[in-house]
Symmetry: C2
Subunit: 208 residues, 2 copies
């Protein structure tokens, strides 16, 4: 069990609930029962009720759940209603794609800066956010206090930047590098996305 008292598998499922509820809303539906939702999501109704019950009582007997209301509640649970400032470190192909591709506001974050070591990139705007030189990171963080950093840099430079960011008060990382942040900094929240690992697992599954 987590420090929070909520198991990891529940937390992992939350964004999916959020997404499905968004779709139901789009379909114009107003209410849904755990049984209907379970059929759609390929879960058991029991599991859905239990998952939600970790955080409160959002349904009504005989009625089910109000879709919009439940989605809002899950948004609150996920903290989406209080966006946190985030910066992107590394604006190569990946960093740039992330900046373009992701709707940060809808995922609980507000992108306030991008940093790279390449002088030629400095000053460029991506989605109204300017690329700054990595040497200005300290100053920027002291002034703007980002909560989270998205690491789109190679493993080799990750440790140094991480140390720096953590000293500056950054508490969370979306980590695309293969540097093991959590191992060196157990006090910090990390979400890892490792394309390579995912591909290797796919390779495994296809080979066996």
């Amino acid at each position: 069990m987590n420090p929070s008292g909520i198991s990891n598998s529940v937390i992992k499922r939350l964004p999916r609930y959020y997404r499905f509820l968004g779709e139901l809303k789009k379909e114009g539906l107003a209410r849904i029962s755990s049984r209907e939702l379970s059929a759609r999501m390929q879960l058991t109704a029991s599991q859905i009720r239990q998952d939600l019950n970790c955080f409160g009582e959002f349904g009504q007997q005989g009625y089910g759940y109000n879709i919009e209301l439940l989605q809002d509640e899950i948004a609150k649970i996920l903290g989406l209603d209080k966006p946190q400032n985030a910066i992107i470190i590394g604006v190569g192909n990946l960093g740039r794609a992330i900046a373009h591709y992701i709707n940060f506001e809808a995922k609980g974050f507000h992108l306030i800066g991008m940093f790279d070591a390449k002088e030629s990139l400095v000053g460029q705007m991506v989605r109204n956010v300017p690329i700054r030189h990595i040497s200005t990171l300290d100053e920027f963080c002291r002034e703007n206090m980002p909560h989270a950093a998205i690491l789109c840099i190679p493993k080799e430079v990750s440790k140094e930047i991480c140390d720096q960011l953590i000293k500056l008060g950054v508490k969370g990382f979306l980590n695309f590098s293969h540097y093991d942040i959590a191992l060196d900094h157990p006090d910090v929240e990390v979400e890892n996305i490792h394309f390579g690992d995912s591909l290797m697992r796919l390779s495994y599954k296809l080979s066996n």
Copy 2:
């Protein structure tokens, strides 16, 4: 337990073992014991021995593991020694970044094609692979038999393309879209990467 008889958590750890062994090799080391490796990876020695024992006996009493040999064995387990043909569907910011950023050959795949619906992209080369028009997908697949597809397209078009690809014999997906492939096609191998979900989980962790 999996069809294969190997638990998911073991499979999830395999790429990390592979990476760590690669680093040890780079450091010029030739052998390592489960205890040393466990200290580096923040696991128990027992777990490492048990994980490896799922696939065979790769160590020697009193000696430990030969690093290069063990890495090779894990490569074989992951199927990295027999690269599978892969295609990228959707060459927007994300697809392009993936194509540039990932060393497919090192992860068990061989990138043989990229597809997009935008005429203006057709003919462009990315890493020596040409972008083709999505209308030529059928023909291409029948001739080249890709095993895996990397979906860098929006949810709305994913279902249709998936159906098409599966009919054409594609067995594995690296899925960046929010379409639930596994739900409609339980017979197919899928690795999901959902940036949005990861960000929301990070938001949750930072808010609680």
